[in-house]
Symmetry: C2
Subunit: 376 residues, 2 copies
């Protein structure tokens, strides 16, 4: 089982947890920026002190919001009251495979029987408006995988998600939320969630009180696949959200499984396409189990360490107006790699990195897969 592979874990001090929570809850700080900032400045506390200046240098029109220490302590206390732990990727309790992602949430809100998060997981996703056959199959597959010792991750949505959670409740299933733990969507699944939490868990990277918006769902989907060995897409029409999950899973190096259907059934168009593109066709739990067995035997590959040099003098490192203007001038809406920028700007990697960080904190930079960046 995965638990044998868990790396040694640390335990944060309360003050460190408050600092990290403040940093990840600040404007324009996503998981990747969080990682860069902590790496370059040595700690969340040091990074917080630099945020306003960096954002200003990046051209921010106005100062971004930084979560206050009081608000951070308030969120931690409120989380604790509803049984939510906020854990970091290097702490015990964080789902081990999720911790390997480049954009793993720096603080993950975990609630329920959290030991379920230590077991090997399979994600099951699919249409909200699934067919009767699709729902029946999702339920059967989740049940059989659960019987075989796997924990099912899904998104608590109507349709396939619901069917998958329901039949794997006894063995432990994990609901990955797009909003905060107190903003369950859809609201009618609060009862289902309560049942899930007995043997399973719910996880979210969002703050309490955050009601999920449309754009939060694709972002959340990376956690459904990222925590798992692989993702099974049960039913999906063309351009279904589940296909985005499959694409992300592929980028994450997770196995992608798809359930076939008749070419005359539009709800199978997406899954049939996935198989054409290389996903593994599955018709029963054994197909999934056989495919992930060799992966489970390998140790979990840790995230590549950030091997960029920390800023030499982190308090004063400023690229200077000339370098900054040249780098910004090279950027545009088309994604470029860091290496390209270093070469084209004839600047040091450290200089390019700090300019990108400034732009990001100013809300002017978008990060893509494969280390590519573009201006917003």
């Amino acid at each position: 089982m995965d638990s044998s592979n868990i790396p040694p874990t640390t335990r944060l001090t309360d003050a460190e947890r408050v600092d990290r929570l403040r940093l990840i809850r600040s404007d324009n700080v996503g998981p990747r920026t969080f990682r860069s900032l902590v790496h370059h400045f040595g700690s969340a506390k040091a990074a917080l002190a630099r945020l306003p200046e960096l954002a200003r240098r990046g051209g921010a029109a106005r100062a971004g919001r930084i979560l206050s220490e009081d608000d951070a302590r308030g969120e931690l206390a409120a989380s604790q009251r509803m049984g939510v732990s906020l854990v970091t990727p290097d702490e015990a309790g964080y789902p081990p495979r999720l911790a390997t992602l480049d954009d793993a949430p720096p603080l993950l809100g975990i609630r329920g029987a959290t030991e379920a998060l230590m077991r090997p997981m399979i994600a099951i996703v699919g249409s909200r408006n699934a067919s009767g056959a699709g729902l029946k199959f999702a339920g059967r597959l989740a049940h059989d995988l659960s019987d075989a010792g796997f924990v099912i991750t899904s998104g608590l949505a109507r349709g396939i998600d619901q069917a998958a959670h329901r039949t794997s409740i006894d063995g432990g299933t994990v609901a990955v939320l797009a909003g905060g733990h107190d903003k369950i969507y859809p609201p009618e699944h609060e009862d289902l969630l309560a049942q899930i939490l007995v043997s399973g868990a719910a996880i979210s990277e969002m703050p309490l009180g955050h009601a999920p918006r449309a754009r939060d769902f694709p972002r959340r989907n990376r956690l459904i696949s990222g925590a798992a060995l692989g993702v099974v897409v049960v039913e999906a029409a063309h351009r279904s959200g589940s296909l985005i999950t499959a694409r992300i899973a592929n980028e994450q190096g997770r196995e992608v499984f798809a359930v076939p259907g008749s070419p005359l059934d539009p709800r199978a168009a997406g899954t049939n396409d996935l198989i054409k593109q290389g996903a593994t066709l599955i018709t029963e739990a054994a197909d999934v189990i056989n495919a992930v067995a060799p992966i489970m035997e390998r140790p979990i590959e840790l995230r590549e360490p950030d091997n960029a040099e920390p800023f030499q003098d982190s308090c004063d490192f400023d690229p200077g107006a000339g370098d900054r203007a040249r780098i910004v001038g090279l950027l545009g809406p088309a994604p470029l790699s860091l290496d390209d920028l270093v070469r084209m700007a004839a600047a040091s990697p450290a200089t390019v990195r700090v300019v990108l960080l400034e732009l990001e904190l100013a809300g002017r930079l978008e990060r893509h897969g494969g280390g590519m960046v573009s201006l917003i």
Copy 2:
């Protein structure tokens, strides 16, 4: 189109055609034995003269039947009366890809608009008791492939075969028969066949008057796939005959395509399994066309010439009782290769080959794929 690849063709004399017909219609002479005999003895006429002696040496309990010259002339005349030509693989009119098979029929009965046999073909097969969706899909696929210039080959059976023939009648479709041209099965498809013959054709390796038996259908199936670039299996349960066609197609080096279906639909179990085993999932004609396009650009690979030496002195070549006994002693119900036999018997390849031929003509040898043989 395939027709540009057709090798130069010969035209037999009547006497040669009569001899070849007599040889292939003789007891225990299949296409592979026919080929060995003609190669080793130089002509069908010479082989016919040696048959009784070879069968006796192989241990035949009684002399096998050899078609008389009168009966052969009678079959040719009767075939001609109903518009059936009996052509050999090196003559014009023989389907070019079929001619490349090791076990291509030495004389193929061809009827209808035979120019259809010169065009690129796709086989479509599937269940006799297909679902409405399966029939609809087969019809649509055959129609679209026909529109794109392909000729559809199938087996004239109820279900998928019928649906595939029916929608490709105008563009030309080929019915591959398991019995003689005058013994159509199922009988209620005689009208369908009449329509097929206007722009398409029917082919059979069986003599007139031969009513198809159960074992003739798998044998026939190799012609459905062998004449085509690839075979599409539309609907097939576990252990369906269409899966045998798919296996043979694979051995023949033909593309195997399968139409997916719900895991809850038993009629899709066979096609889903084929995809798991490596068949190409298809949901529309374009998938097939894209896959066969590169194959169509290559010249058709001719059969490997039989590079074994003809018997040195074909009239008198007799392995001798010692060699024969040793070779027969090595054989059993488990298939062995010719190479293994040569090595284990410490005999010459020519000696082993002639003993195998004797055993075959005595009805004591079974030939398997890959040149393996076993005793019956």
